[in-house]
């Protein structure tokens, strides 16, 4: 059971990490795209 908890935590932990990394990367990309658009005077 304890061993199973390790594998479950490994699966869900790294799965969540991948999704959070994707969201953070996308957040940075959208912020920089917005900043460049605002520099050019577009929304």
């Amino acid at each position: 059971m304890q061993n199973h908890a390790f594998f479950i935590a490994l699966a869900y932990g790294l799965g969540a990490l991948a999704l959070v990394a994707e969201m953070l990367w996308l957040w940075r990309r959208s912020q920089s795209a917005l900043a460049r658009a605002q520099e050019e005077g577009r929304p």
């Binding site: 059971m1 061993n3 199973h4 908890a5 594998f7 479950i8 490994l10 699966a11 869900y12 790294l14 799965g15 991948a18 999704l19 994707e22 969201m23 996308l26 990309r29 959208s30 795209a33 917005l34 460049r36 658009a37 050019e40 577009r42």
Partner: protein
């Protein structure tokens, strides 16, 4: 009497979404709702999967990995098909938004493929005694990851956007043949990977609470994918507009 006119105006409103500026505004309004829905559905799915679903009599607790593994594997295949469809539409009809949608979907599809492979490995080690086996299902899913990476590599390597979209579309369309291979691999070959738990032509071979947990998590992955794809499409619309002005 008014019905045809109403249908026409509704259809016209949807068709306007093919215009990048209209889509940009619409996606900006919709994505926060989808992100909230994804959070709620994931919370409900994990609650059902970890607190309501019973322990499996053969696999014990480790089977609970399927609540992430199966939806991730479904999304990896489904997103690929939708991305290939949009890339194909862009290639044939030269629509402006379709290639952007394909580009927006592919990274999320790749992330779900990695999650499906990773969670499968974490389930395989305690169940089969191995992190990885060169089984038809696992190998074809790995090929799917290479197809996603190949597409992303091609579209980022070619500087001219339209040429990059065309080359990327060819990669995506050529790889579509891999999707039925992944899906039917457990039927076509003698594999270590178990057969489909949920089939269109048969009742599911799991209890209702297990099924509910898995479907809730699948819906959460759907909502997440849509939200992320909409935000990424907004970025791509801005970036493409900046490129065109240069």
């Amino acid at each position: 009497m008014n019905k045809p006119l109403t249908d026409f105006s509704r259809a016209w409103r949807w068709r306007q979404l093919a215009s990048p500026p209209v889509f940009y505004q619409w996606a900006g309004r919709v994505w926060p709702w989808l992100a909230g829905l994804a959070l709620l559905l994931a919370a409900a799915g994990l609650w059902v999967g970890f607190l309501l679903a019973p322990t499996d009599s053969q696999q014990g607790e480790v089977y609970r990995i399927i609540f992430l593994h199966v939806p991730a594997a479904w999304m990896s295949m489904f997103i690929y098909l939708v991305a290939a469809l949009h890339a194909g539409l862009g290639l044939v009809y030269k629509t402006r938004l379709s290639p952007l949608l394909a580009r927006a979907l592919a990274p999320t599809g790749a992330v779900f493929t990695v999650i499906a492979l990773w969670t499968g490995a974490a389930w395989g080690k305690p169940t089969w005694g191995a992190w990885w086996v060169w089984d038809a299902r696992l190998t074809s899913e790995l090929i799917l990851l290479f197809l996603y990476l190949g597409y992303l590599g091609v579209v980022s390597a070619i500087e001219d956007s339209q040429r990059a979209d065309s080359a990327g579309a060819i990669v995506l369309l050529a790889g579509v043949v891999n999707i039925p291979i992944i899906y039917f691999s457990v039927q076509w070959w003698s594999t270590l990977h178990q057969g489909a738990t949920i089939r269109w032509d048969a009742a599911p071979s799991m209890t209702h609470s297990m099924l509910a947990g898995m479907l809730l998590m699948a819906l959460a992955c759907w909502a997440y994918s849509l939200a992320v794809a909409l935000v990424r499409t907004r970025c791509l619309i801005l970036e493409r507009a900046q490129e065109e002005r240069l």
